[in-house]
Each structure stands twice: as structure tokens, then as C-alpha cells.
Amino acid sequence: MAEWTEEVTQVAGSNLAIIKGGTGKPLLVLHEELGHPGWLTWHAALAREHTLLIPIQPGLGKSAKIDWLRNIHDLAMWYSWAFREKDLFPIDVIGFSLGGWIAAEMATVNPRQFRRMVLVAPMGIKPPEGEILDIFSITARTSLSYSVYDQDATSEYNKLYGGERTPEQFEAFEDARTENTRLAWEPILNNPVLSHFLEGVTGLPTQIIWGREDATVPVSAAEAYRKALHNTDVKATIFDHCGHRPEIEKSSEFIKLVREFLA
């Protein structure tokens, strides 16, 4: 039996593809800036206790592009509309990198949309130390190579990205990069008002997860997120010897942490 299915439905005036897999309490998964990376070990592990719902960002894969959206905040507003229409709220959410930024924006729109929130190395806040990597002025391959601390020790990285990819696969990356360039080119992968609005978030238990050696979004942003969310119950966990992808770099620790948090 297939572990997951993909369905395209009409919602909020557009067509949205959602990947669905697992059993149990629904968990909304907001994927990273290069799109849904495929069904990984952590997906399978969490799918034992949760029904994973992975919307494919508009403009990527089978989801229609929504031309009138102009930035990540707009996209968060649209997702709020779409999932409200699908009657998914309140729901647990986990967001990765740019997907984490979208989740944080959605929380500022209405924290009651979520039950519990996990942010994995989210973009969206300008780090107090270091800079968010300008993924738009390097190739997808280069940005991927920066995204993990130790490629050789990260078996799932090699499985997904280590081998030679085909032009078709790179075209999918390029579609994702084009759409996110459109939405997040300036300011560079952050929203200067987000940290202020996050102060208004209450009653939403939040787990922040970061790799100390993250070369895409510097770890200093973890503390900035934690501070901004001071009016809600928030905890930050930093993994050592880990880059931007704790879900594959520290897979078992990551799975344990998320399962316990969402239990």
C-alpha cells in the first residue's frame, strides 16, 4: 500500500495539491523553499501517529500559481483562507525553513488556527548575527550543498540530493526558486514586521528546532524567534554538529522531540 496520496482540490479560488499520508491526529506540514523533498524517514515515523497533510505551495508542482499574491505574508493569509475553507483548524503545524516562516506568519494572523507549532530553522526574521544565505544568487545545487553540516554523515541527503539529478528535477527546483524569488526577494528572505507581530501570539505552545552550524539561516535567529514569541509557551532546541536540516541530519533525535512535543 502506498504510504501517501496526492490530491488536487479547488479551494480559496484556486487549485491546491495536498499530499496526505498516515493515521491519527492531523499534522499540517509546510515544506521548504525548494518544494516537498519526498517521503523521508521522519515523514514515515510521524505518520504512525499523525495524518500528515502537506500542501504543495501555489506555483509549485500541481498547485496552481496565484499571481496576485505578492509576498510571504500574502501566502500565509491565503493558506489561512484555504485551510479554514477545508475546516482543518485548529491543527498542529510543522514548518521547515521558508515553510516555517509561513507558519509563523499564519500564527500572527490568528494563533487559534494552530494547536501546537513546530518551527524548524525558519526564515522570516533577520538574524541578529550573520546573514540568511542568498539562495537566489547561487544555483540550487550550491544551496543544497550548504544546507547540511556533514553530507557524508547524512544518508538521506545523499539519497535525495547527493546523486546527479536530471534536468526535470532541476526544473522543479527552478519553478520553486522562481516563485519564492517573486515572493521573498526583498527584504532578503525576511519580513521586518514579523517579530513585532509574533509578540501578539498567545496560547500557542511552540517548539523551535535549529542546527548550531546552520549555514542557510544562522542559529542566532533561533533566539530572535524565542524572544519574539515571549507571550506564549516557547522552547528552542539546538542540535550540535547540525546544519539547516535537523530532520535528516539528526533524524532520530528530531523525531523523538517532535513526537513528544505533539503528543
Binding site: S137, A140, R141, T142, T166, E171, F173, E174, T181
Partner: protein, 464 residues
């Protein structure tokens, strides 16, 4: 035929190994910039333009690039404003202002109107999308490049032609009060020409607007295809395209003897030439090209690492067999991996010299030997506008001035005679788009296909 003099105005004192090490002219650290050198070159390039006018060129063409020693025209309108005053009768042709990256089309309308007024109507403005690297340098969202281009163009034309004051509320530009107190000298506005390298979208857009299209040294065979596309679009728009709708730019270096010319002309390959203008990831930032163009390029690119795909993978996809003993990857890719030295990379670059001449990427010689090659280009393309582009690279001031002198005194008169014999008219002799197309009538041939048969096939992997 309208004859233009053009130079990229290169910063010629940059260390070549720095360009090669950086694998691109764009992005060479400006710690190598010497203001004394900059000051000297800016003034010399103005002197060159004045000299070209004295020698009989009809126009001085300028261009604009940012963040690169390849071209010093970072703010081309400043140079154009000076030329407006110090030249007497030459047209000032700007090919072109990179509208999407400049972000303030109303300001552009004002600057250009001032240049047109100071020159008493000698301005020919043109627009470009800006190279990919310029989207990065100017922080212009590449995914909106085409939209910015179209809307900025419409703002400029409106500012020049619509009685003010009026409001502009567009998708990307908003102005509450457009009422410039500077309007162009030429009415309804200066003639607009558009330069291009390969994009069919641009050719169609030009034809729809009846703007002449200037091919920037593109291979003759693909230029013919693009011009045919222009002609088809023109017919749909109800007019006949002719030589007045087209121009061509050719890189050239001329000297007194063949030996000297060949020795000096190598400068055009300095630092890798145009092939090293910028790295693939800067040339094509996400969204800069249409989805279709990206798909096409992903399968055609011979450059290393386009989109991150290696040249080996592309070759495999195309079913090409590779010699297992052949080193893997493009020279620049191997340079990045430290598998070749800068000296070896340099040798690879200069080994292309003869091929670049064979494919007419660059024409080098004495007046006697360059004229037949330029004649062939005129015969094939029949362009109403012809630009002679002084070769790039670290030539001395004397070598450049001598080349310009020989172009003006010997090449120019010969080309004018040839063009006359071919019945080529320019955009000032016949208004582009002024001849009505009557459906079903036979069109005059736009290009000479027999002459094209005599033209050499270009190796597209060689770029100068």
C-alpha cells in the same frame, strides 16, 4: 545605412588572473579599482566618441552594465549627457537603458528628455531587460523582470506624450503626479531602437511596437530566424518590415598590417571575453527567463553547472558518448574544483582565437581584409543600422585610436558604397513600420539566403 561607433568602455587594467579566478568579470572585487585609471579612461572614451564623429560615423552607441570591469558605463545617461554637448551632429544611441533594474521610469523619462534637448534632437533611446547579474547588483526582482520592463516602458512613453499632470497606478509603479517639466525635443518622442541577443519574446515585442531590432553580434543563421519572426509579426500588425527595422553590431579590430592586427586582436579574449561576462547562476537568476526558455536552456546549455546540472549529466541526457579519458566538466567548472591552474584556463581561452574569427564572432585584420567579411554580413542581413564595435581587452590607447581611424577612413566609406549597391535604407530614410502590408501580397526578401549559404557556421560554444 546608418553607421554607429561602439565600445563597451572596458576598464582595461584589471588583472586577468583575477577575472579568471573569479570565473567572471562581474563580481571581481572593486579593491582592484584605481580611480586614476578610471578618470583617464572615462575621458579617453569621450575623446574616442568625438574622434569617431569627426571621421564620419553617423552615431555613437553606448550601453550600460553594473558591477563589472567589462563595461564602465554604469550610468550611461551621464556619458550621453556629455556627448550631447561635446558632439555636433552624431546621433547618440543608447542600447540600452536597463529599465527593470532602474526602478524609477519617471526619472528615466526626465533624464532622457534632457539629453534629447541638449543634443537638439539627436537622441535614440533603447531599452534592455538588464543582464541577469544586474538584477542581483541592483536588487531588482528577476521574477518580475518582464513585467517591470513592460510597465516602465509604458510609464516613460506616457510621461513623454500624455499631457500632465496625471496619475499612474500600475502593478509595479505608482506616481501621484506625472507632469515633467522637461519634454523631449523630438516629437512625439525620440525614435526607440531595441538591442537583443536571442530572445524571441523581445523580437515579437519590438515588431509589435514597430521598434527597430538591433542584433548584438548574434550568429548569422539564428539572426536570420529572428528577423523572419519579426517580419511575420510585422505582417500581422499590418506593416512591411525592411532594412529600416533592423540593425547589427559587429566586434572588430583593424590595424595597419595583418600581423599587427592578429597580434593586437587577441585582446578581445582577455579574461575569457564575453563568455566570462558573468557566472551562470548570476546570468540566469530564478525567474529571469520564461519557464519555456529555462526548459530549453536546461537541455542546451554547454556552460558548466547551469541550474546546478553538470555538463556530464547534460551530455548523458542528450545521449552523447564521452571519451572516458576526457577530463570531466567545463574548464570553469574544473577551475572551481581546483583541477586546472589559472595558466591552463588562460591557454584554453586563447586557443579559441582562430575559431572566434572563423565564426565571425570577431573580425580582425587590415581594412582590406575586414571589408569582405563585413560585406558578407551586409549581404546576408541587409541591416539599416550597422554598428562597429571596437574590440575589447587591454589594447593601448594608440592601438584603439588607430583602429578607429582605419575604420573611419577606409572601412566606413567602403561599407557605405556596398550598402548603397544593396539598396539598404536606414530608419531615418524610411520610417520603420510606415509601409502598409496588404494581405496576400508578396514580401520583398528580408535577408539574402544565397549569401547566407556562403556564411560560415558559428561554433556557439565560442563567445567573444
Amino acid at each position: 545605412m546608418h553607421m554607429m561607433y561602439f565600445t563597451e568602455r572596458p576598464y582595461r587594467d584589471v588583472p586577468e588572473e583575477e577575472v579568471i579566478r573569479n570565473r567572471s568579470f562581474f563580481g571581481v572585487p572593486n579593491t582592484f579599482y584605481d580611480p586614476e585609471v578610471g578618470a583617464r579612461y572615462y575621458n579617453e572614451y569621450i575623446d574616442e566618441a568625438i574622434y569617431a564623429e569627426e571621421l564620419g560615423f553617423d552615431a555613437i552607441m553606448l550601453n550600460e552594465h553594473h558591477g563589472t570591469p567589462f563595461c564602465m558605463g554604469a550610468v550611461m545617461n551621464v556619458e550621453a549627457a556629455i556627448l550631447a554637448r561635446v558632439t555636433k551632429k552624431a546621433r547618440i544611441v543608447l542600447l540600452g537603458n536597463p529599465l527593470p533594474v532602474l526602478k524609477h521610469p519617471l526619472r528615466m523619462a526626465e533624464e532622457l528628455a534632457m539629453i534629447d534637448l541638449i543634443s537638439k534632437g539627436r537622441l535614440v533611446p533603447g531599452w534592455v531587460r538588464g543582464a541577469g547579474s544586474e538584477q542581483i547588483f541592483n536588487n531588482a526582482n528577476p521574477a518580475y523582470n518582464r513585467e517591470y520592463f513592460n510597465e516602465a516602458h509604458d510609464v516613460v512613453i506616457a510621461a513623454w506624450t500624455r499631457p500632465g499632470p496625471f496619475r499612474w497606478e500600475g502593478k509595479h509603479f505608482n506616481y501621484r503626479y506625472i507632469n515633467p517639466w522637461v519634454l523631449p525635443y523630438q516629437k512625439p518622442h525620440p525614435p526607440i531602437w531595441i538591442p537583443g541577443v536571442i530572445s524571441p519574446e523581445t523580437v515579437i515585442w519590438c515588431a509589435e511596437h514597430r521598434y527597430p531590432y538591433i542584433g548584438l553580434g548574434t550568429a548569422l543563421h539564428s539572426t536570420v530566424e529572428l528577423w523572419n519572426l519579426y517580419q511575420q509579426t510585422a505582417a500581422q500588425e499590418g506593416y512591411v518590415a525592411g532594412p529600416e527595422n533592423f540593425g547589427y553590431l559587429q566586434q572588430i579590430h583593424v590595424s595597419d598590417t595583418e600581423e599587427k592586427a592578429q597580434q593586437e586582436g587577441k585582446a578581445a579574449l582577455f579574461g575569457g571575453g564575453a563568455a566570462n561576462f558573468s557566472r551562470p547562476e548570476w546570468t540566469l537568476p530564478p525567474g529571469y527567463n520564461s519557464k519555456e526558455a529555462t526548459r530549453r536552456l536546461a537541455r542546451q546549455a554547454t556552460e558548466y553547472g547551469f541550474l546546478g546540472i553538470t555538463s556530464e549529466k547534460l551530455a548523458e541526457q542528450r545521449g552523447e558518448r564521452r571519451d572516458p579519458n576526457e577530463p570531466k566538466g567545463h574548464t570553469r567548472e574544473r577551475l572551481m574544483r581546483g583541477e586546472v591552474s589559472i595558466e591552463e584556463a588562460k591557454q584554453k581561452i586563447y586557443a579559441q582565437y582562430q575559431k572566434a574569427q572563423d565564426g565571425l564572432q570577431i573580425v580582425i585584420g587590415t581594412p582590406k581584409t575586414v571589408i569582405p567579411r563585413l560585406k558578407l554580413i551586409l549581404e546576408v542581413l541587409r541591416p539599416g543600422v550597422m554598428g562597429l564595435f571596437q574590440a575589447q581587452g587591454p589594447l593601448t590607447t594608440e592601438q584603439r585610436m588607430n583602429s578607429i581611424r582605419l575604420m573611419g577612413q577606409e572601412v566606413l566609406p567602403a561599407l557605405r558604397e556596398i550598402a548603397k549597391g544593396l539598396g539598404i535604407v536606414d530608419p531615418f530614410e524610411r520610417q520603420p513600420g510606415s509601409r502598409q502590408y496588404i494581405a496576400g501580397t508578396q514580401l520583398d526578401p528580408l535577408v539574402d539566403l544565397d549569401a547566407l549559404k556562403r556564411a560560415p557556421k558559428r561554433d556557439e560554444s565560442v563567445r567573444v
